[in-house]
Symmetry: C3
Subunit: 204 residues, 3 copies
Amino acid sequence: MNDLLLPTLDVLGTFAFAVSGVIAARHRNLDLFGVIFIAFITACGGGIIRDLCLGITPPASLSSWRYLFIALLAVFFTLVFKNWIKKLEYPIFLFDAIGLGIFAVTGASKALHYTGAYETAIIMGVTTAVGGGLLRDVFLNRAPIVLEKEIYASAAIVGTCIVVAGNYLGLQEFFVMLAGATVTFLIRYFSYRNNWNLPRFMGD
Amino acid sequence: MNDLLLPTLDVLGTFAFAVSGVIAARHRNLDLFGVIFIAFITACGGGIIRDLCLGITPPASLSSWRYLFIALLAVFFTLVFKNWIKKLEYPIFLFDAIGLGIFAVTGASKALHYTGAYETAIIMGVTTAVGGGLLRDVFLNRAPIVLEKEIYASAAIVGTCIVVAGNYLGLQEFFVMLAGATVTFLIRYFSYRNNWNLPRFMGD
Amino acid sequence: MNDLLLPTLDVLGTFAFAVSGVIAARHRNLDLFGVIFIAFITACGGGIIRDLCLGITPPASLSSWRYLFIALLAVFFTLVFKNWIKKLEYPIFLFDAIGLGIFAVTGASKALHYTGAYETAIIMGVTTAVGGGLLRDVFLNRAPIVLEKEIYASAAIVGTCIVVAGNYLGLQEFFVMLAGATVTFLIRYFSYRNNWNLPRFMGD
């Protein structure tokens, strides 16, 4: 079940992140290559940085057609259904929140397997979850949204901490990851719905 | 012949990319270090990302004086001949297009040797060819030109696909690389001359 | 003595760089996660790039709680003493200049131990010293200060060259590093006090 569920969720999360990349890229006058690039880097950028930091070369998303194919599919989907996209804002938010939870726990788990270090697991889980969005905004030459708005990275931190705590307590990994991803999703979901934010700092 | 031709082309491509970096950096009020940095990162940034993704550490351009020397030469050349540079726009475009073709096929070929994976070869070839220009624009804090204008990365994709196809068909690598670099150059050349573009996406 | 002095200086330099990150991040409307992220990346970004280029995975600052803790401390310190920060501008400049010197020589020394190549040592030393500031400005979406203003990277270059020269001459490493860090600090100090700059390039 673990063998089937995780890849399925990974595909869903990748697709959701790629769609969010395409949506962010519109109004930017990018050409087709530019849009595909942004979709791919939004979906895979966090995992690429994680794999480089863990010494996994080439990174997983550069070693299989799957991720490039998902990015192309996301571009095609958004292109074809662009009149629907506004109405689809809510399902896309849901996908993105699911992707956030999945990427946080799978990133933390992968780092834990490779290094055994809790700090590395937490940082790499958060990097996997938010790194793609950071790179997307860097390449679109705008201030990274993830550093400014709503509880996003913080939700991922909680998910990675659950993975680390579960490992420390010797709990069954599959259920720990499910719990971490679910909690991350719920924190993200309710903070978006209720417009929660972390405190601003030195805005004066 | 392979042993002599490729390094020669590599030097020419590196020089052309470094000059394009210096030209992009003017009007930016950079100091001398800033200009040298931008020249070096434009010329070598793509190869550095490629080598990191392939697990080649330290990256080739950080292990030899050659690349730093070429970057310094490009800065000196552009500084001395700055009144000529406008008239030199056309030869510089030619150099850049040659560099694009060379970097695409050498990047794809290197990735193929290290991983044997076709997807990795294509992505790494394109990364080698356009990564330096992307980093240049990120550090100059402007929207990356390569995502917006003219057929540039797309020409590199065709070149990398020729390398992969030649490998699949078991053709002699030297001629495959020559063909890939030439086709990339020609696509870039004619798209620039005729102002071809990829379709824009969601500009509405 | 070497075993105690270097880690102490490393902590001081990391703290100074993290504080400079927090100060750069204010007026940006970042949330608490954003501020901590900028503090951490300013302090550790250069070392992370260096370790990735040297094949040291995971990078040192992702393998120990120390660096994250220092970043958190820097955020807390700047938050609590924010009314003092303006008056503290001068000590913060001093810390930053000390950090610059320390990071330049420790980065060069680490690269020399791992590769034995002088070019790699110089580039990696400078990368360690200025990479964090570069990434800080990229993520804050502003033109990198280090490419524009005052003698900063150049001071680091001199420090790394002293490390390389000392290695070539077979001098005792500890004193060479002390000399390199001191010279870097002094160049930075006097160029700031006297408003020295490298020549601007093609500002016309």
